[in-house]
Each structure stands twice: as C-alpha cells, then as structure tokens.
Symmetry: C2
Subunit: 438 residues, 2 copies
C-alpha cells in the first residue's frame, strides 16, 4: 500500500486517551447513578431522526447548525439536543408511559458549529426531565436542585451554588412596568449583566425605549441579593400587585422551602433574580449552577420548567421540568484546568506477569479466581524480558502485579507487588483477594 | 399551533420503552463489566469523522452504505463500524498508547441500509480488540473465547458454543489442492454450507472450475467434525504438507489448549472447519458464537485475528485480534422471541407515597436516608388520591412502596409495602434499609 491517509480526528469532537476516558466514564457513571437514585428511567432515542419530525420546532440559528442530509429518498437529521427527541418520544409513546414520566438520557448530540475553543460539534448532554400529564407539583421543581446537589457533591469539584429564579417573577415585574412586550429584549440584556456591567445594560435598555425611571426600577430589582429569606422579603416589599409576579414569588418561596427539605444546605442554593435562561420555552422555575472555585466555567448545569413540551406533535399540553449537564464541555474545561483528579488511571486491579509459559495453567486459573471475586485482572502474555513487562504495568498505571515463576508456582502462590510502594508479598489467590477486594 | 407533526421514529432504528431499555442497559453493563474484568480499556471515538480518513479503506458495498454529507466545507461521514476508527485511533495516538493495547468500545454505528427485519441503520456494536506493536502471542487468541465464555455465561441465555477455526488451515489446505487463487470464491461458497447444503455447494464449486476430485477432498475436509482432539487428529491424518496448513493446525491446537486453561469447558468451544468469516482481513484464528437453543439467531459474537490493522494510515504493520457483539440485533431478536427475562423492570427500589403534604419533611429526609444507603428511591409528589398513587407504583413495576400518613410520621416510621406479596410492615428508615439493601 503506497498512499497513506493521515489519521486525523474531526475538529470539534473530543477523543480521549484511555486514562482520561476512564476519568470521563467515572464522571458519567456518577451522574447516571445519582439520576437513577432519584427514580429517573433510562432512555436512548436514536441519533438520526426524520428531518421534518426533528425540525418541527426548530428555526433560525438552531436549524442552521443541524447536520441534515438526504440518503436514498429519506431526509435525515442528527439530533442537536435531547429535548426535542424527548418531546417526540413522549408524544409517540404516551399511551405506554407512566406519568409523571421521569427520564434521564446521557447521550451525544450534534451541532454544525464552526470549531473554536469550548465549542463542540459532537458532545454529551446529561439530561433529566419530569413530564406531567396535567399539573406538576412544585415539589418536582425542588427535586431538580436536589439532584444537582447530589451530583456535584459526589463529583467533588469543591463548593458550588445552584442559582434559582422564576420566570413569572421576571415576567410579572416587567409587565407591571408596562414593558410586557419588551420582556424578551430586556431579559436578553439582563442576561449579559455579569459580562458587560450595569452601565452598558442601562444603555442597551434605553435603546429598547425603556424609560430612565423604569431602568432604575429594573436595576434596583435585579440588584436584590442576599440570603434567600431576605430576597423573598425584598420581593414582597416591592409591593408589586401584578398577579403573575405574586404567583412567581409564591412559587419561588415554596420551591426554596422544599429544596431545604430535600436536604440542600442554604449555602448551596441561592435565589438570583438575574437568571432568565435564553430559551423561549421556560415558564416558571429556572436554574443555573456555578462551581465557586471556577467561576469562568459559567453554568455547569441549567434548566427550568416549561408548560408545553409536546405542542408541536400533539394537542395535549404537557408540562415539564428539566436540567442538563453539558458533560463534554465540563470535562474538557476541568481537564484543561487540571481539576479532575487522576489518582487512579487504570480500571485494572492486578496484572499477572508469568515469568515464562511453564506455569501458564496456574497463572490463568489464579487470574480467573481473582476475576470471579470481582477484580479486574489482566494477564501479560508476550514473551519478553522482565523489564518490558514491568514497563507495561507502570505505563498502564496498574496498581498491583502478580509475578509467577517456578518458585511461586511450586508453592501454589503468587508474588503480589504493590507498584506504588514497591512492597511485595508471597500469597495465595485467596489471600490476594482478601487484600484487594474492598 | 395549528399544524401538528406526526411523531415518528426513523425506520431501522431501535427505540425502547423504559422497561426494555432497563433490560438492554443490564445486558450492556454486563458485557462492559466482563470486558473490564479482562483488562480492556474504554474508548469512545467520535461518530463523525472526516470522510477521507474514515473511507481510506472502504469501497464497494460498504461505501454505498455510508451516511456521508458535506457541511460548510467539511466532508463528513458517520462511522459504519468500530474497527476503522480503532485503526485511525491507534495510528494517531500510537506514541501515547501502551502495547499490547487492549480496548473495548460499545457504541452506535450507522449504515444506510434499506430498512428490513433484522437490519438496522443505527445499532450498537460491542467490540474488544488487542493490538500488538509487533508479534502477538497465541495466548491472546485464546483470551477472546475466554471473554466470550464469561459474557454469555453471565448473560445466561442458556447453552452456547464458541466455534473456532484458523484461516491458515483453510488457506493452506486449498493451496495444497492448487486452488490458491480461488480461495476467496471457495470460502464464500463454503460459508453457505449450512444454508444451501452440500449438493449446491458442490455445484457452485464446479462453476468455479474446481475439479470433482478436489471437490470431494474439500467436502471431506469440511466434513471433519467431532471432539476438538478428534478434529485435530483428523487434520494431522490428512498428511497435508503445505506449510501454511501445518502452521494453522499448530496454532489451532495451541489456542484450543490455552482456551481450556482459561477455564472454558470443552462443550463450549468447538473447532469448526467451515467457519471462514467474510471479511478479507482475517489471517489466523476466527470465531463465531451460537446460542444452542436459538440456532436461527446465527452468530451472536464473531471475530478473528488480522495482520495489519493500521496499514491505511501508517507504514507499521500492527497485528490484532478482535471480536464484536451486535447488541442491538441480539437484543431485538431475543426480545421478539421473549428470551430476555424481565423479572425486574424497574430500577427504582422504593416509591415513597406521602398521604398528603403534612409530613413532607419526614418523607424527604427518610427518602434521603435510603438513597444514602445506595437504594434508588422515588417520591410521588402529585396531590392525587390513593388509587392513582398505587396505580403509578404498579404500572412502574416498583417493588416496594413506603406509605407515610399521620400515624406513620407520628411514630417516626414508614409503612413499607411489598408490591408483589402485598405484605406491609411499619418500620424505621434504618429497618427498611436493613431489609432492602443486599
């Protein structure tokens, strides 16, 4: 074969070496275990969907990013999020599902982005949603931060704060200022507060025709900070009579109260009136999550409540609440800042190293015993010297090797060596199991 | 919204309801655990690759099935197997890998098939491969059936036989008949023996210009069956002097011997001289696996040894051995024949049902205790009557409910009800944990 093709990986995709893949999988498994511990059911919808089905709702920027193509006479698209497939799934399988339907899906999604730092064309989203057939109790709004709290406690990236708000508070407040028709613009501007600062926000608001008096009120409103109880009191003190506003404040109060009952410490959940979330469909509680020690990462887990998930597919309005962790982006950021710990980069507990082929029967039966006890066991089978054999163990990061030569096999034992400390001890397979199985 | 889009799922993809998804995930997790127990490392290459990279080797039928498209100025293809991405990965990351490199990848692959029963456009392959930098010991050829044996023992679909052969035996034997240039055609015809029978095979061979004498020898050769030791003796007795043939028989003998040392009972591994495997690149040991009780499923796990994985990307010839389980196809067949058992269709261990909101603090703190003990716990939060609450538990297949009303909360206890037997007992959270945690 003369011509060789240069092996390249597509820009904007994440491909890991085994030690990093092991760390990634550990994060993935941790999130999945917490999702399951709260009763969420697994789902795995296809990546490929009929374009007209997947794009029933899409438009504008989203549609431009879709990987869409025709094969034979079928117009296909790759999913760009897990929410639209969920809507399609619920609409399609409604009769066979039990409501409230709690599902998780942790899968790749695809967006035809121009490749740039932090932007991925193929990335994992880890979503949970709760879908109701009719009304959904506010308890479920509090379950989301409860799940987030458990996930980020287990992931152990240090302190984090789940920031919470309610779109009704925002919508009602702006309606009371006569700015109901400008809510979208105003919210978008407020969303940039942290980035561009108060003065520029005020200037932008003026461009939208917001009066100076209203701007003052808006800035005062979003300036309400402090302990959750204080923020709620301050909202009450605004004396805003708007019905939606009052409903929103009441909901926010209840959700925070329930969140405490879910065991979330006060320091981990904070009302933040500047949170709006970009997406159009959030209608109640909204969430963002920040890692205290790494503020530049932005929100690592966001979501909210929506009124009508399945509107593009059925007449029934099905309300829901969901959150999403962008795992690929999170992992890649944490890795680049060396935050993810890699104290153990091998999944394999023990590597058997036969000195030669003489005792391979003893080696294989001993390895099988350790495996049956739940250990991950590799056997080095190449006919090489001791040096390359130990180098393999070292480079692989395997914590223990089991050496077997004439002496060991003769005694029916293995020489178990701790690769970290260098200590070694002659022991039976059973003794090795007792030592290594936790 | 007036126009509704009909929610449909793309033909040729598998989408499951939660109880089936739970069963599927259990199979997936079982396979993954066995792969890891043998020291295979996880890999997760991107679905999307540059077309010229992914298709470096492809041609003919394969290329026609590729989902390929241009986005912006990038020519992209979705992977159609996990072997080409592995070759690309190894060629790209060679310097950072430890050899022999043992990896597993259990991911979806995509093929633009015309949809028909048993053919999928999007399906899981569960692959393991061992890649060597230079020579790879025959021990590794025996490790493959050892892994298969452990996988299908744990999956527990009844008896199974791993059928094994060696391409050198076939190649050498046919070369000795002067049919070296017709091996591909002959092997393809032999591959159909089970389907079309001996007479039609003979007729087809004649069409290829195989003499009657040679055909007789070929049919006698592939008619060699029996215990492994008998087959090996019969091969020796053929007195075929071809060097490749002798090498193949010697390899086959060793691999079977090692396989026994790996703990595979004789009834689970059988030399079968009719196995060739279609793919061009197998050069030594080849495998197929059949479930004894379900012969119509065909081979549920196949693979073999190849000489040069990375030839399209690098000058180095890297040998390897691999097997693959087509999990989507296997699951779908087993489900349609009702073979997969669904004795437990919920992941959730306990559903808390508060009678009302009065004791929600006690309910949530009790649920958290059970969760902290490793149980999966859901809380029903809708304000409905007892009947819909119990119906939710029943339809969800959750094995236990924990009822909490005034009496229970007053006593600091929960009423734990076994949904199968109907038995219920008042107990503390700690007592429930002791009962439910295995």
């Amino acid at each position: 074969m003369a011509e060789k093709t240069e092996p390249r990986v597509l820009q904007g995709t994440m491909e890991l070496l085994p030690p990093d893949q092991i760390l990634f999988n550990r994060m993935y498994d941790t999130i999945r275990a917490v999702y399951e511990s709260f009763g969420f059911l697994p789902l795995d919808t296809p990546v490929l969907e009929y374009s007209n089905v997947l794009l029933a709702k899409a438009g504008g920027e989203t549609e431009k990013q879709i990987y869409r193509f025709v094969k034979g006479d079928t117009d296909l698209s790759m999913r760009f999020d897990l929410t639209v497939p969920l809507a399609r799934y619920v609409a399609l399988h409604k009769a066979d599902l039990v409501f409230p339907f709690k599902r998780y899906q942790m899968s790749k999604v695809y967006r035809g982005e121009r490749p740039q730092k932090g932007r991925f064309r193929e990335f994992y989203q880890c979503d949970i949603d709760i879908i109701g057939q009719d009304a959904l109790d506010l308890m479920y709004d509090a379950e989301m931060p409860a799940v987030i709290y458990n996930v980020f406690t287990k992931l152990a990236f240090g302190d984090f704060v789940i920031r919470i708000n309610n779109r009704k508070v925002l919508n009602g407040f702006f309606a009371s200022l006569g700015l109901a028709d400008k809510i979208a613009d105003i919210l978008r501007t407020i969303d940039k507060l942290e980035k561009i600062g108060e003065a520029k926000v005020a200037a932008e608001l003026a461009e939208f025709g917001v009066s100076a008096a209203a701007t003052e009120k808006i800035l005062a409103f979003i300036g309400i900070t402090g302990k959750n109880a204080d923020v709620l009191s301050a909202l009450d003190a605004l004396d805003c009579a708007d019905e939606t506003f009052c409903e929103g404040v009441s909901e926010l109060r209840k959700v925070v109260e329930y969140a405490y009952l879910y065991g979330i410490p006060e320091k981990n959940i904070a009302i933040d009136l500047t949170i709006a979330r970009g997406l159009d469909y959030y209608t109640g509680t909204v969430y963002e999550t920040k890692l205290v020690d790494y503020p530049t990462l932005g929100s690592v887990c966001s979501g909210g409540r929506y009124d009508n998930l399945t509107g593009y597919y059925t007449e029934d309005a099905m309300p829901g609440i969901g959150i999403s962790i962008g795992l690929t982006r999170l992992f890649s950021q944490l890795r680049s800042e060396n935050i993810v710990s890699d104290e153990r980069k091998s999944l394999t507990d023990v590597l058997f190293i036969p000195m030669d082929k003489n005792h391979i029967d003893f080696v294989l039966s001993s390895a099988a015993k350790l495996r049956a006890a739940g250990l991950n066991v590799d056997v080095y089978c190449l006919d090489k010297g001791m040096k390359p054999k130990m180098k393999f163990a070292n480079r692989s990061g395997i914590p223990y090797v089991a050496l077997v030569g004439d002496d060991e096999a003769g005694a029916g034992k293995i020489m178990l060596k701790d690769m970290q400390s260098g200590e070694q001890a002659l022991c039976t397979a059973e003794e090795a199991i007792a030592k290594l199985v936790k």
